[in-house]
Amino acid sequence: MNREEAHAAQVFMAHHGFVMGLALKHAPWPGLAEDVLQQVFLEFISKAGRWDLDSDPKPLLATMTRLVAQRYWRERSREMPEMMRKLADHVRMLAEERTAPARYEEETDALRRCLEKLPEKSRSLIDMYYYADLSTAEIASQTGTRADTVCRAICRLREKLRICINRATRGGEAYV
């Protein structure tokens, strides 16, 4: 990697949260935003010589992210059964309609503070589901409950975290 590419990588690194936020907005399908992020990264680095890296890269990254997301969305949705595609398009439309700016990085930081405030039982659930990668059925069998109960608990937890993040990013205290 030459100096130019290394510099481009650092610039991207400083804005990865911005790109991820946009990728989630433009490609709201599980796993797709990560693919978009990677592709934008590679394209950004591959053309490092063309960019003026001393100016604000956000407009450029926003355009690249939108275009890559559109391309990936087309590719992915083409493989989907019709009903799945309709649902995906509907969710995407809802995401595009959202006017709030992408604040992924800021919210990720708030999420960390909110996670720290979670009661032990909720932390344990998040840990099992997101960290240990257990399915809801596996968690249910471990905790002696039903899978849909676990499902519901995880959904409620995410809702609580959303509220906590909103509160924290508005300058309030992060509590759950």
């Binding site: 991820m20 796993g31 649902l87 997101y130 399915s135």
Partner: protein, 556 residues
């Protein structure tokens, strides 16, 4: 006795939405689910906000916990399927002149490291296996080993403690070996060779020193191991470049010199030398008694080599006998045993009877010896080496099994058996650079791709030894199980079930059909001397049976 109140219709409805959202987030939504969720979304604007909130928080949690997905954790090693995202991404940036691969490693390393620092991801959540693995994978610390010897041969060996048993090729760390019966040959890193007969207890102390608590052994020491010392409860023998035998019992120790000279350091008498043809008995409190050596009372390294060859031949014959039974299993789709290959043969016969899979084509790799002398194997060395085959059927459950001797994990992904490209329903069985074994299944019908990883299997000590690997994808029990040498090493729940399509595939390499100008390099480095593919989930006992013959090759 009281019972929980029945949920109201509204509560049931909420539950149902939660389940649908969860399926949406995990990529397990069916078309019917999608229809229901879409209707609900169209009818309820608040639900739209809810699903997006859930999606964003889920994405952040996945990224932050380093689990399920990916983001920068997987930027460095995988992607959409968890596997190959970089390679897939690289394919797509083929229009750029610069090699994306060349950019990748350094850039990703910088980005991953910096992101961890900048986001505080390392502090984000209690560290678990995944973070440890990730830390290991990027560690700059050079691996080390404490081993001082290697188990070179064994004949009918059984160990007193099954949890501390050793196979041929096992590196041996300082510590005690307790052999119940049989013979083993230990090659010390100094070059000294010791044949231990069971029952016997030998403690390895360094590459130049051992201690025999009981039992009978013989030793050969080349000039490089001059000074090799074996202690006993009654004294020690220091080798001066020779061959000798040692018999340690409760009553005392006997040293027999077959060749050269040894120094005897008996506890009860001053040091003295013992020459070729001489033997000495050392008691706890008695003087040394010298008499004629009896070489025939000991198994020497030359004798164990001969016995080992005979034992290997028996194992080879037993394997040949069992082969006919394995080949007639109606669920067997492919079995390549690498037998009967003439020089220059490029076609591998599929031994599975009645299988729709035809012969495979050898590209690049050459025939070498396998687990036993005379048994065929294929050696994969070059980046182009591979065996190509066509699997013209869909399957729901399957078992892959192979005998492999891995030279090294040179690549990020070291292919075992890979569908070309990674089309919907394809399967990728491979060893990761960090020693984990991965079964990747490409998503289909809207389901996301999923990787099913084992814990780390290939530590440096396992390289260069024959190992039996198997992976079972059981769609009925919804689990993936990884086996090593017939034992379960890890299992994962199956996330999505749909018909699988192996299609065009390769043993030992991977072809990316989407590109013709540049393919990611994922070749396997090592030998394979048997590969089997069943269209059902084999039970543990069956895996044990096909792996049950010892891999006691001493051909290396």
């Amino acid at each position: 006795m009281s019972s929980a109140p029945e949920p109201s219709d509204a509560e049931r409805s909420i539950d149902e939405v939660d389940v649908l959202i969860e399926r949406y987030l995990t990529g397990t939504l069916t078309s019917d689910d999608a229809e229901i969720l879409l209707k609900r979304l169209e009818a309820d604007p608040d639900l739209g906000k809810n699903i997006l909130d859930q999606f964003y928080i889920d994405a952040m949690l996945k990224s932050s916990c380093g689990s399920r997905t990916r983001v920068f954790d997987d930027l460095s090693r995988s992607g959409r399927s968890g596997e190959g995202a970089f390679e897939r991404v690289s394919k797509r940036v083929g229009r750029f002149k610069r090699s994306a691969r060349a950019i990748s490693a350094a850039c990703f390393a910088i980005v991953v490291g910096a992101i961890v620092l900048s986001t505080g991801a390392a502090r984000f959540w209690p560290r678990g296996d995944r973070s440890r693995e990730a830390a290991q994978s990027v560690s700059l610390v050079e691996p080390t080993t404490a081993s001082v010897a290697v188990l070179a041969r064994s004949v009918d060996a059984t160990w007193s403690d099954p949890s501390r048993s050793y196979d041929v090729g096992s590196p041996l760390n300082p510590g005690g070996l307790r052999l119940k019966s049989g013979l083993v040959e230990i090659e010390f890193y100094s070059g000294a060779r010791v044949v231990l007969e069971g029952p016997g207890e030998l403690e390895l102390r360094s590459s130049l020193e051992a201690y025999c608590k009981s039992g009978r052994l013989s030793a050969e020491t080349p000039p490089s191991a001059r000074g090799f010392r074996i202690g006993t409860p009654n004294g020690a023998v220091v080798d001066l470049g020779t061959e000798f035998g040692l018999d340690v019992t409760g009553a005392g120790s006997e040293v027999h010199v077959f060749k050269g000279e040894v120094e005897l350091h008996a506890d009860s008498t001053p040091k003295r030398s013992l020459k070729e043809g001489e033997a000495a008995a050392i008691g706890k409190k008695t003087s040394v008694r010298v008499f004629s050596a009896n070489p025939t009372a000991f198994n020497t390294p030359a004798m164990i080599r001969s016995k080992s060859a005979a034992a290997l031949k028996r194992q080879f014959e037993a394997w040949r006998s069992a082969s006919a039974r394995w080949n007639s299993d109606p669920s067997l789709l492919a079995r390549f045993d690498i037998e009967g290959l003439a020089p220059g043969d490029r076609t591998l016969l599929n031994r599975a009877e009645g299988s729709p899979i035809g012969p495979a084509t050898i590209v690049g790799c050459g025939r070498v010896d396998g687990r036993w002398p005379g048994k065929g194997a294929l050696e994969f060395r070059g980046v182009g080496d591979r065996v190509r085959l066509e699997v013209p059927c869909e399957i729901s459950s399957f078992t892959f099994a192979a005998w492999v001797r891995v030279n090294g994990l040179d690549r990020r992904f070291n292919s075992l058996f890979m569908s070309d490209d990674f089309k919907p329903g394809a399967t990728h069985w491979q060893i990761l650079h960090d020693g984990r074994i991965r079964l990747g299944v490409a998503g289909r019908n809207g389901s996301v791709s999923v990787d099913y990883d084992s814990p780390v299997v290939f530590t440096p000590e396992r390289l260069g030894r024959w190992v039996h690997l198997a992976v079972v994808f059981d769609s009925d029990k919804r689990q993936v199980i990884h086996y090593v040498d017939g034992r379960t090493v890890g299992s994962r729940p199956v996330r999505n079930v749909f018909p699988l399509r192996v299609g065009s595939a390769e043993i030992g390499n991977w072809s990316s059909a989407a590109r013709v100008d540049r393919s990611p390099i994922r070749h396997y480095s090592g030998r394979i001397d048997e590969f089997s593919f069943y269209r059902r989930a084999l039970e543990e006992a069956e895996i044990g049976a096909i792996s049950g013959l010892e891999a006691n090759s001493d051909d290396s």
